[in-house]
């Protein structure tokens, strides 16, 4: 009797996980990169529940997608530019059916039809942003901080925070030496590694889960931060300033892509359309502080958001700015090697 009951439970258990899943949208996104309200409203409007999982780096996202390649786990992911290019070339993406999404024309033409994805066959821009300096003016005394090179200053020993992002950290190292942040030259990358190694004793922590936290918690005073995080932090800690470094800010773009084996591409397309609505894009930009590429949405933004230099930089801010571009797999390997060495060196 007991054995039957147990067997029954087992069967039920195994059956409960069968492939007959109800319609859901499996969204894989950066952490702190989508207001809960947007997900709730999408479910309300379309009746499709959203299963929301997060990652903190392109590498982690890519590795997980490759791991789950055949099992069609995710319907949408949000890689940065150079990973869109990489994934497209490796045939990991499903083409996006433009006829199924509305609102594409609202997007800033400067950010569409880029080299990484000609004609946006595989990606739809979501948000763009910058990575710059965070300075806690309450704790930083003396000379103002306005360059990446300032991070190497002795007075910041043990108080620096870096994002846990391979390319961004090396971007800083390269710029400080006068090289391009998109360098593919192994000599330059090595030089950047050596320069960054000198910074390591000052680095208190790496954080890409929520880069504003170490500053808010008082663990670090100065370092790298994403502009959206800085905007969100300012509400809680007004002394945290977002500074555009002299050598040039890092700019990037994140886009929606649909993995090739997505189980629910219909829902994916619906979600993209939903986000492209100007009202929703404006909401997102206001909530999390990053810049929306949606021009119609920008018109709808309240003044204090549209004029917030951290979210929407002026032309002066963007002098010397460098957009993250695709650097090819070979160069990525070189970076990966030095990144591991940097993180592992104690």
């Amino acid at each position: 009797m007991k054995k039957l009951a147990l067997a029954g439970m087992l069967a039920l258990g195994l059956a409960g996980c069968s492939s007959e899943e109800p319609q859901v949208l499996n969204l894989y996104n950066w952490s702190e990169y989508m207001p809960q309200e947007v997900l709730d409203r999408f479910t309300e409007e379309t009746g499709i529940p959203v299963v929301y999982t997060t990652y903190d780096s392109n590498e982690a996202m890519y590795a997980k997608l490759k791991l789950l390649d055949d099992s069609a786990a995710y319907d949408l992911a949000v890689p940065s530019t150079y990973y869109v290019s990489k994934m497209r070339q490796e045939d990991l993406l499903m083409p996006i059916d433009r006829s199924k999404i509305e609102g594409f024309d609202n997007l800033d033409p400067e950010l569409t039809n880029l080299d990484i994805d000609p004609d946006n066959q595989y990606s739809v821009p979501y948000l763009w942003g910058t990575t710059g300096l965070a300075v806690d003016t309450a704790d930083v005394q003396g000379e103002p901080v306005n360059a990446w090179a300032d991070l190497w200053d002795e007075r910041f020993k043990g108080r620096v925070m870096l994002t846990n992002d391979m390319r961004e950290v090396f971007h800083v190292g390269l710029r400080v030496l006068g090289y391009s942040g998109n360098s593919t030259n192994p000599e330059e990358i090595k030089a950047a590694y050596e320069k960054l190694s000198e910074l390591m004793p000052s680095v208190r922590t790496f954080n890409s889960d929520a880069p504003r936290m170490p500053y808010l918690e008082g663990e670090t005073d100065v370092g790298m931060i994403w502009n959206g995080e800085a905007v969100m932090a300012k509400d809680v800690m007004p002394s945290l300033e977002y500074v555009y470094p002299k050598e040039g800010i890092i700019a990037w773009l994140d886009s929606f892509v649909i993995p090739k084996n997505a189980r629910n591409p219909e829902a994916a397309h619906k979600f993209i359309s939903f986000v492209l609505q100007p009202e929703i894009s404006a909401l997102i930009s206001e909530e999390i502080g990053y810049a929306t590429p949606n021009l119609a949405a920008r018109d709808m933004l309240p003044d204090e958001v549209a004029n917030n230099r951290a979210s929407y930089p002026t032309a002066t801010d963007m002098i010397n700015a460098e957009f993250q571009t695709d650097i090819g797999d070979e160069a990525l390997q070189v970076y990966a090697k030095y990144w591991e060495m940097l993180k592992s060196g104690q």
Binding site: R204, A336, S344, Q346
Partner: protein
């Protein structure tokens, strides 16, 4: 008297048990050994030219450093657990029997709570704006908050907090078995306290110590979430390296090799434990 009727049940049970273990224990471990000598492949994770590259990479100065640092932190954790746990187990074994059960219960309760959440609670305590600093500053012991979080010390504290019961329980068990007569005999033979301790108690409790060390040292090298939460993504353990190699860098041979090294460490410790028990059996009262 095993009639034909009894055989099907026995056979079924044996098939189930063997099947499960062979498929889910033996095979996977062999796969890991195999993976460690294969070559990394960006597309399919592993590919054929067999070589010892992964091990060579592991023992190159950079990763050897990581391994040694991780071993150092694990060793410090184990030492701390031992220093705290040894007297604790001794004191516990001396408490009145009825109370012992309650005390052990109280020891286990924290262990039965979610380890992630407990580690997070430690973060609240160790943070610059956290409770420890607030408390110390309010009673005037320090002027500036101590920077405890995101350091090697924080990771060790976290590991000790999670693993202490694993050291205490085996120690308690050997202390329980410690025959009072031996201690009395030693005293009767004129041995002083210290001498009794060194020559009677320590050797007799050694198997417990080694069991505790085994149960603490290895997890202390593998609990990757502790450095993630308390170490600021620095002060990495071997477990972090393995996780990064498998899940981020997708360098499976390397991750597998690191894992094999951990396993060998475990085998070594088990061997030492066996040896100590056997020697105890030979010298035992």
């Amino acid at each position: 008297m095993h009639s034909a009727m009894q055989q099907p049940f026995k056979t079924a049970v044996l098939i189930l048990v063997w099947g499960w273990l062979l498929f889910l224990v033996l095979a996977p471990n062999l796969l890991v050994v195999g993976a460690s000598v294969m070559t990394r492949d960006p597309a399919t994770f592993l590919s054929l030219p067999l070589n010892l590259d992964a091990y060579r990479q592991l023992f190159a100065p950079l990763y050897l450093d990581v391994f040694l640092h991780s071993l150092y932190m694990a060793a410090m954790t184990t030492l701390a657990c031992l220093l705290i746990g040894y007297p604790f187990a001794w004191a516990l074994s001396k408490v009145a029997k009825q109370r012992q059960l309650v005390l052990i219960f109280l020891l286990i309760v924290p262990f039965w709570t979610n380890s992630l959440v407990r580690t997070y609670a430690l973060k609240l305590i160790l943070a610059t704006n956290g409770l420890l600093n607030s408390a110390l500053m309010s009673i005037g012991l320090i002027d500036e908050p101590l920077q405890l979080l995101y350091t090697e010390g924080a990771v060790i504290i976290g590991l000790v907090y999670l693993l202490l019961p694993f050291m205490i329980l085996p120690l308690y068990s050997v202390f329980e078995d410690l025959k009072q007569e031996l201690l009395l005999a030693s005293h009767d033979l004129g041995a002083g306290r210290l001498s009794t301790f060194l020559h009677v108690i320590v050797p007799l409790t050694l198997p417990g110590v080694l069991a505790g060390v085994m149960l603490v040292l290895l997890p202390a090298m593998g609990l990757f979430f502790v450095p993630d939460i308390l170490g600021g993504s620095r002060n990495l353990l071997v477990g972090n390296v393995i996780k990064n190699q498998f899940l981020d860098a997708r360098n499976w041979p390397f991750g597998a090799a690191a894992s094999i090294v951990l396993t060998i460490t475990m085998a070594f410790l088990m061997f030492a434990h066996r040896l100590s028990k056997r020697r105890l059996g030979e010298e035992g009262a």
